[in-house]
């Protein structure tokens, strides 16, 4: 009995050590990515894209088809996760709630500073899995580099977006980028028409 206990203890110690190393490596990688993000966002042309197609007018950003889908249909499908993003590390990211960050049509410097402030906080102490709700495609390529997901919502109303993404990703809240003001919460939202008769 004693020898089995000893073996169990040794195994436990090894497991704990591996876990700590994994945590340390994860935090280091997150720091590296965060540094790259800071450099990126500090560049005045962070969101500029040199795409040369002459005088053609840009196309439209179309709404996510799920915004046009009956809630009952969405509710019947399996949930999809939202990643934590590569600039942060958490032991159990799946335990963090999913929070939507609404990004309007902002001037690049405002956008950059807003994202930097938010993601600095996210890097230091991850508080949520962030789902960026973008009215335009402007931030997509930058956020995408760091493993963040953007849902392009055009000018769809926030309530409908909350319900739809709640059913798809388990979204709990929608907040503004600049001040983090609460725009929508699943706790106070009207229940979608997807309860059984």
């Amino acid at each position: 009995m004693a020898s089995t206990d000893d073996q169990d203890t040794d195994a436990l110690i090894l497991l704990r050590q591996a876990g700590r190393e994994r945590q340390e490596l994860g935090r280091r990688l997150a720091r590296y990515e965060f540094e790259a993000l800071k450099r990126d966002l500090s560049d005045p042309g962070a969101f500029d894209l040199r795409l040369e197609f002459g005088d053609v007018r840009p196309g439209r950003l179309l709404l996510d088809p799920d915004l046009d889908t009956a809630p009952q249909t969405l509710d019947a499908l399996p949930r999809l996760p939202v990643p934590l993003g590569r600039v942060a590390w958490a032991d159990h990211p799946e335990d963090l709630p999913v929070t939507g960050i609404l990004i309007g049509d902002l001037r690049p410097p405002v956008l950059a500073s807003g994202l930097l402030a938010l993601l600095t906080e996210h890097h230091q102490q991850p508080f949520a899995r962030l789902l960026f709700l973008c009215r335009t495609l402007a931030p997509v390529h930058v956020l995408g580099r760091y493993g963040f997901i953007c849902a392009c919502i055009g000018d769809a109303p926030v309530d409908g977006v909350g319900i739809t993404l709640g059913l798809r990703h388990g979204l709990h809240q929608i907040r503004t980028l600049d001040e983090g003001a609460l725009l929508w919460s699943s706790e106070t939202a009207e229940a979608p028409h997807c309860q059984p008769p």
Partner: protein, 755 residues
């Protein structure tokens, strides 16, 4: 060195336990107590407190762990013992419950709460003391009263159970459980209309699940072949939103497999949002396995549904038997194709080779006959005739064993038991034979798990006996017993297997969603040591067509009649006007009794004869027959039942009329003609063969589908000649064709024994 470990804070620990149990964090509570280092002896009240909380909170596994600790420490309270016994019962282990209770409380003078649990434990093990306890406890306790009824039912003492149940139903009026028992027992006793009435009452009983009552009515109506009513009720049933297991049962009963599949598919789609109640998926999967739908069950399991441990084990057995690749259907169509027992077929090649040398000499052969029961049917009568025929051929009684799946007298399955006992052969009631898992080898045990019902139970029950007796000849009587006997015999390498079909092919008989036996039958017939027989030429050809066998592959074993028992009736007076017309048959839909009544009524109207009808028999349509006869104004109808002597059954009769929809070789036509009675019947199965076909005494063959008026006209045309002809020719025909000698020598021939 002073011990630096701080003394445990009992108060804080108790508060922690209270708080954790209050949140249903039972595991945390147990760990907290474990971590405190306090053994039972040091803090018995905390351990007992935790045990009570776990028991009340239904954290059964943890509660058992704690009770085991308490018991180890010698602190096992009577409360704990009772809880352990109850937990054992909940987990389907009545033996353990009994052991605990006896150890702690003894056997006598049990306090009522203990007596109740003991009664359940004993009832679960079939212990004779169970009823003693229940007799005392059932007065004033509806649960114990119900258990008493169920215990009697389990012992097949249906009449007793019914009597007690009627008393209890009055005593505990309002407790619908007794009504449900009454209805079920009425079915067991063959009292269908009574059962229907009870379920109709329950349909209208507030608080009783209407869909359950409707489902039972539908099943009964389907058995009675009152299909339009059954279907109308099915619509009502569906509109009640029935539980899925009930819906599957009804769909299977009515053969509505599309509905079954749609309901299951719907439930699968909803499962993530609206899961079925616990236990429903295991029950549905069990039903599907009973129907042989292994593929569908495998697919449900692969979709992550909670199919339960029993089904999981069955699927594991399937993988062992059939291989993993063959038991992982990816699409609904693939799943539908994986059916049992077809997936086991054809038999392995060695089945054709592995058998002992045939015994040629009759007096050394050991014969095992298998039938479902000894109920009051023609096939059962012929089973007895065959035994008598074999004995007449010189086979000794000690060479013959007969295995019956059930001979319950209350259920009407022992009608011919006395006659068979009189032959002196050994009889085996498979239902009451226990321990039959002892001899099941692991491969066969796996295979048996996969078989549909009733084949699964029949094979398991029969296998043990066959393995013990090792007969040289295994003879299955009728489809159900034949398939089980064939399956077991093929597996055990019995030298000679005879399968005697008694009717037309199963596909022509409406069997709901029951499995298609064709492939199994064909696989058995393909074995060199298996012989299929039918009891008429028409039946033999029909089975050959159904199974794709060559002409002549199916043998013919005509029914046997002890013609000495059937004395020719005196001839009619030459100018007698009265014609006594008898119908002898079970009052069941396939005998078409209402058509019989209508035909006779039409005959009464158009015939110059004074036609006096008489029906002899019993069955579920008796009330309907009486009502219909009255409605159509049928004159002089007499109905008799419960007769056994030929003279009482057939005499005095001038004509016997049979208008069945499905028949094998109808014994009643043979018996009546043996007594010289003129015979008329519809051309189904072996009816034509069973009648004298030439001469003035020839019988009348009516078309299979005929209106009563047309039948009456044909009968009237035939009557004068038939009535005038002496009965000797008929009796001689029967004597020559259906003798016991012919049956016996024919049977020995198919056994491969020299006569």
């Amino acid at each position: 060195m002073p011990d630096s470990t701080p003394a445990p804070d009992f108060a804080r620990l108790r508060r922690t336990l209270v708080e954790l149990c209050g949140r249903d964090a039972y595991l945390d509570a147990l760990l907290a107590l474990e971590d405190s280092g306090l053994a039972v002896a040091e803090a018995p009240e905390l351990w007992h407190y935790l045990e009570r909380q776990l028991t009340e909170g239904r954290a059964d596994r943890l509660a058992r762990v704690v009770r085991a600790r308490l018991a180890e420490a010698g602190s096992y309270s009577t409360q704990a013992a009772l809880a352990d016994a109850q937990a054992a019962l909940d987990h389907g282990d009545p033996h353990r419950a009994e052991t605990i209770l006896r150890a702690v409380f003894g056997s006598d003078d049990l306090p009522p709460p203990v007596a109740r649990v003991m009664a359940r434990a004993l009832a679960g093990t079939g212990h004779p003391e169970a009823l003693l306890h229940l007799d005392r406890l059932s007065d004033g306790d509806s649960d114990m009263a119900l258990l008493k009824v169920d215990t009697l039912r389990a012992e097949d003492r249906l009449l007793e159970a019914q009597a007690h149940c009627e008393l209890f139903a009055r005593q505990f009026g309002g407790d619908a459980r007794f009504q449900v028992r009454l209805a079920r027992m009425a079915v067991g006793l063959g009292r269908w209309d009574e059962a229907l009435r009870v379920w109709e009452t329950l349909c209208a009983t507030p608080g009783f699940p209407r869909s359950v009552a409707l489902a039972n009515r539908i099943r009964l109506l389907a058995r009675l072949e009152r299909n339009p009513e059954a279907h109308a009720l099915t619509a009502e049933f569906l509109l009640e939103g029935p539980a899925l297991p009930d819906l599957v049962t009804i769909a299977a009963t009515l053969g509505m497999t599309g509905l079954m599949q749609a309901a299951i598919a719907d439930a699968v789609q909803r499962e993530s949002r609206l899961p079925l109640p616990e236990g429903d998926w295991p029950e549905v999967c069990g039903q599907l396995l009973d129907l042989g739908r292994l593929g569908q069950v495998a697919r449900l399991a692969s979709q992550g549904l909670p199919v339960g441990p029993a089904v999981t084990e069955t699927l594991a057995a399937a993988r062992r038997v059939l291989g993993r690749d063959n038991t992982s259907p990816a699409t609904p169509a693939e799943a539908a194709r994986l059916q049992m027992p077809d997936a086991l077929l054809p038999f392995p090649p060695f089945y054709a080779m592995r058998r002992p040398a045939l015994i040629r000499h009759p007096d050394r052969a050991r014969i095992l006959l298998v039938n479902a029961s000894l109920g009051s049917g023609g096939a059962e009568r012929q089973f007895v005739m065959m035994v008598q025929a074999l004995l007449r051929q010189g086979i000794r009684p000690d060479q013959i064993d007969a295995a019956l799946f059930s001979v319950s007298p209350d259920r009407g399955r022992a009608h011919f038991l006395p006659e068979l006992q009189d032959t002196g052969i050994r009889l085996h009631d498979l239902q009451s034979r226990d321990g039959f898992y002892r001899r099941l080898d692991p491969a066969l045990e796996d295979t048996c798990q996969l078989l549909p019902k009733p084949l699964r139970g029949d094979v398991v029950a029969l296998h043990d006996l066959v393995a013990e007796l090792r007969p040289d000849i295994l003879h299955g009587w009728q489809d159900r017993a034949g398939l089980a006997a064939g399956f077991v015999g093929a597996h055990l390498g019995t030298g000679r297997i005879v399968l005697s079909a008694r009717n037309m092919q199963p596909a022509k008989r409406d069997r709901g969603a029951q499995i298609d036996d064709r492939r199994l039958y064909a696989a058995l017939c393909a074995l060199p040591n298996v012989q299929l027989t039918a009891n008429s030429i028409a039946g033999a050809r029909d089975y050959e067509d159904w199974l794709g066998l060559d002409r002549g592959a199916a043998g013919v074993l005509m029914n046997g009649l002890d013609t000495a028992r059937f004395a020719i009736l005196p001839p009619r007076a030459p100018n007698a006007r009265v014609v006594r017309l008898v119908g002898v048959f079970r009052f069941a839909p396939n005998k078409r009794p209402l058509l019989w009544l209508d035909t006779v009524r039409a005959l009464q109207r158009l015939s110059p004869y004074d036609v006096r009808p008489r029906m002899v028999g019993s069955g579920p349509l008796r009330d309907e027959i009486l009502a219909h006869a009255s409605a159509i104004g049928l004159k002089h109808l007499q109905i008799d039942g419960g007769l056994s002597e030929p003279a009482a059954i057939y005499g005095p009769a001038d004509v016997i009329l049979l208008m069945s929809r499905v028949e094998g070789t109808p014994n009643v036509l043979l018996e009546a003609q043996a007594m010289g009675i003129a015979a008329a019947g519809c051309d189904v199965g072996g009816v034509r063969e069973a009648m004298l076909s030439e001469g003035p005494a020839a019988g009348l063959v009516l078309p299979e589908d005929i209106a009563s008026e047309d039948a009456a006209r044909l009968i009237q045309d035939w009557l004068p000649t038939a009535l005038a002809a002496p009965g000797d020719a008929r009796a001689a025909f029967i004597r020559d064709t259906y003798s016991l000698e012919a049956l016996g020598s024919g049977t020995l021939g198919y056994y491969g024994l020299e006569a």
